[in-house]
């Protein structure tokens, strides 16, 4: 544990020291006395590998934190990535990364669990392992504990992090976490006292560790990378996936089935999260209302990997939302899911909570609305009085391309909703589009500009002069990134040069003073793509980049494309192989080792449908 007297010196002149002090309301970890009296307690560090303000906005972390700490045998504490100024302080003072609650150094935990929420966190994960005083590569970590694992959205392709993780969890963590800690608990208890002799022999130690990992691998959704490897063809594609470890009894490759929480109401919706002291990115009560999405947009990974669609019972949600607002004191609540306007009883939920009579003023936010009349009605309820803005994601400019990507918004719907929005008094609209989608033509890109211009035209018709002068249209552009477990998983990503060209073309064709164009760096998107579709050569790339100082790659100020290009070449890998290359339909894919619950045939069928341009309808908006 960190000496309490040291924290002052560590935090002197550090930016936002509130990030590192814990001390929030709603902490659930065991206290030091308890840990001293119960030395067999299994200690888990839950790490979100980004800065506190981002990590504390993550609902998954808070859910697992609560589940673990509800068990008297287990203790969970939180840690986040130190901002570069604090990393520097930690390194210079030779202080290991510590948890917020009891300031226990991370290498003293039994389990360190990372949330690999997206690919651009990978270097932060390596950095956190290193700052904990551990070897970043799992095979070099000889001690029984801590085990290092990760879960989260991007773990569905486990290979890029495979060399660093003792195990990885694919799917929902609610049930799995207790099973994992149960196994660790058995080993901890068994070797807590007599570790002195038996485990002193490296051979014994290795055997016990392997046995423990083998035990863990029997849990649904748990992938132990050291038990598998990829065999490559001479052209660098994968020849086969082989099972290399675990028990001698195993033949052939067992696919890792994603863990699924079937009854979404079986775990209470979290109503007493830790309430941060400093302002966070989503500083509000987050209530998950659904998991999964039933729409199946062909580019959308979450839409497939979080299946099946599970809606929580509205009665429970109303109760837990109200309870949560009372317990946390938040004045804002967000009903989260991949596509919240698809929740059947959304209107009832919002009304019951805001009109409960218990709160004078509660604001509601919804992260994801569709562009239809129902959503508009909902938006009206939650933005009553102060129309802050509407966000829509048509993703593609033309009906043809929207059909291809299966984005279920018709041109008429789009037009009508926008018209209705203006008539109801909105003047701020945000639109999301993707560039570089499969089967995209120049006309589709022009259609983005045309759509935007048509919206201005509609605004002119619907708004009076004064409102019209306040019109603000923000157009946000992302580069398409082919993701595992989508019908577009085989598609090539557009090269950076072409993407930049397309952005420039858009810039020129959308030149209205009402429109602001934002885009995410195509360079970043290409690195993200390489990690999404990467294989077992990617760990070397991440390691090289981390060694060169890559951190916080999701932060524009820190992302350094040149550094990544160098890192690929150091590791002897070609980024184009993972990005701009079209993968073969018959190729063994790195993520074939995971059974996400949807057959590959289905993705092939969906891809073929897209290619055939089903529902061809060139009614442009």
């Amino acid at each position: 544990m960190l000496d309490p007297a040291e924290i002052g010196a560590l935090l002197e002149n550090i930016e936002k020291p509130g990030r590192y002090i814990g001390n929030e309301f709603g902490i659930k970890s065991k206290n030091p006395d308890y840990l001293l009296k119960n030395p067999a307690t299994v200690n888990t560090a839950l790490v979100f590998p980004d800065v506190y303000e981002v990590g504390m906005s993550n609902l998954g972390l808070q859910i697992l934190y609560k589940i673990i700490n509800s068990n008297p045998l287990f203790n969970a504490e939180r840690a986040f990535s130190p901002w570069p100024d604090f990393e520097d302080r930690l390194r210079k003072s030779k202080t290991k990364l510590f948890s917020l609650e009891n300031r226990i150094f991370l290498d003293c935990f039994d389990l360190i669990g990372f949330n690999a929420a997206h690919e651009m966190l990978y270097t932060n994960i390596l950095n956190a392992i290193d700052l904990s005083g551990l070897s970043i590569r799992s095979l070099e970590r000889k001690a029984l504990f801590p085990l290092v694992c990760c879960g989260g959205s991007s773990a569905v392709n486990p290979w890029p992090l495979s060399a660093f993780m003792d195990f990885m969890v694919i799917g929902d963590g609610e049930h799995v976490i207790s099973q994992i800690l149960g196994i660790i608990s058995n080993y901890k208890e068994k070797y807590l006292n007599n570790s002195s002799n038996y485990l002193k022999s490296p051979a014994n130690l290795q055997q016990v560790k392997k046995e423990m990992l083998f035990g863990l691998s029997s849990i649904e959704g748990v992938f132990v990378p050291s038990f598998y490897s990829l065999v490559y063809n001479s052209d660098n594609t994968i020849k086969k996936i082989i099972h290399t470890g675990g028990s001698s009894g195993i033949t052939g490759v067992k696919k890792i089935r994603k863990a699924v929480l079937k009854d979404i109401d079986s775990f209470d919706t979290l109503s007493d999260p830790v309430v941060p002291n400093i302002q966070t990115v989503h500083d509000r009560l987050n209530i998950e209302i659904m998991r999964g999405c039933g729409r199946g947009c062909r580019f959308c990974q979450a839409g497939f990997t979080y299946r099946p669609l599970r809606q929580k019972k509205v009665k429970n949600l109303i109760e837990k939302s109200i309870e949560g607002l009372l317990k946390t004191g938040y004045d804002e609540i967000s009903f989260t899911s991949l596509s919240s306007s698809d929740y059947k009883e959304l209107k009832k939920l919002i009304e019951k909570v805001t009109e409960s009579g218990l709160f004078e003023k509660i604001s509601v936010s919804l992260p994801s609305l569709r562009l239809d009349s129902f959503s508009l009605e909902i938006a009206e309820i939650i933005q009553s009085g102060r129309k802050t803005g509407l966000t829509f994601a048509p993703e593609a400019g033309s009906q043809r391309l929207r059909d291809i990507i299966k984005k279920d918004i018709s041109a008429d719907e789009l037009r009508e909703s926008i018209r209705a929005a203006f008539l109801k008094g909105w003047t701020k609209v945000k639109l999301y589009f993707m560039l570089g989608l499969p089967f995209e033509t120049d006309d589709d890109i022009k259609a983005i500009a045309e759509t935007t211009n048509e919206i201005i035209y509609i605004a002119k018709q619907c708004l009076d002069k004064r409102s019209f002068s306040r019109l603000q249209i923000s157009v946000s552009i992302n580069a398409f990134c082919p993701k595992p477990f989508t019908p577009f998983q085989w598609c090539a990503q557009e090269n950076i040069f072409k993407l930049e060209e397309k952005i420039r073309a858009l810039q020129q064709s959308i030149s209205s003073r009402f429109v602001r164009l934002h885009w995410n760096s195509p360079e970043k998107s290409s690195i993200e793509c390489a990690f999404s579709r990467g294989d077992s050569r990617l760990p070397d790339v991440i390691e090289a980049a981390w060694k060169k100082g890559a951190r916080f790659d999701n932060w524009t100020d820190y992302f350094d494309y040149g550094l990544w290009v160098q890192s690929f070449s150091i590791a002897g890998a070609d980024p184009g192989f993972y990005t701009t290359r079209q993968y073969g339909l018959d190729e063994v894919l790195p993520w074939d080792v995971i059974d996400i619950g949807i057959k590959k045939d289905y993705f092939i069928k969906e891809f073929n449908k897209a290619a055939a341009g089903i529902r061809l309808n060139d009614n442009k908006i």
Partner: protein
């Protein structure tokens, strides 16, 4: 109606800023089930005002806040519930309720008392440090206390002005500047600041220093 309360920010809580405190107190009051009056406008916020901001990293035993409520509460009850709803190391120490209108804390507070615990290398430094403080600001009011057993450790209490008075050519006491100067001075004179904190605030009433609670009663 206004509840004025005094609270401390101890230990790690000293790393929370003025804006953090506003948010933390608003939420704690809501958690306690106390309905604060709301400000007007599209984005109504609870009407809470705080005493003068204190630099990040300085412990305080004397922070004050005013919260506007619709009904007067028993202050004992208020303290009990609010203290069960606050994060660790932030503790409400006293409270009073009034129907009177109050001038804002920031406008009435005249003097802030800071305390430094200083370790000296030799017994001579006391005079040296006195001349240092006089040179730093000749209008400073301060006093020293030494402990019988530990001669080398002494307590410096310094009363800093929180505002400029019309007929007085005083300076506003800036904690960070003084602290920095004292540190530098200490480095070359064998002094080490072991701890520092804000321990009281006062309103000048005639020739007397009055507690902010006097306004309420």
């Amino acid at each position: 109606m206004i509840i004025r309360f005094k609270y401390c920010k101890k230990n790690e809580a000293k790393y929370l800023s003025h804006l953090d405190m506003l948010r933390i107190l608003s939420r704690s009051i809501a958690r306690a089930g106390i309905k604060a009056a709301l400000s007007r406008g599209f984005n109504p916020k609870p009407r809470i005002t705080l005493s003068n901001p204190i630099p990040l990293g300085v412990q305080s035993l004397a922070e004050y806040a005013d919260v506007e409520v619709d009904v007067c509460l028993d202050t004992g009850y208020f303290m009990k519930v609010i203290n069960s709803c606050l994060p660790e190391n932030i503790i409400v120490l006293d409270a009073a309720c009034t129907c009177n209108k109050l001038k804002s804390l920031m406008s009435v507070i005249d003097v802030v008392l800071y305390e430094f615990i200083i370790e000296a290398a030799d017994n001579m430094s006391l005079d040296k440090i006195k001349s240092f403080i006089d040179a730093y600001d000749s209008s400073s009011i301060y006093s020293f206390f030494t402990q019988a057993q530990q001669k080398k450790i002494f307590l410096l209490k310094i009363y800093g002005y929180a505002k400029i008075f019309n007929n007085n050519s005083n300076r506003i006491f800036k904690f960070n500047d003084f602290n920095k100067a004292l540190k530098q001075f200490g480095q070359s004179n064998g002094l080490h600041i072991k701890d520092s904190s804000k321990t009281a605030v006062f309103i000048i009433k005639g020739a007397r220093l009055a507690d902010p609670f006097e306004e309420v009663v």
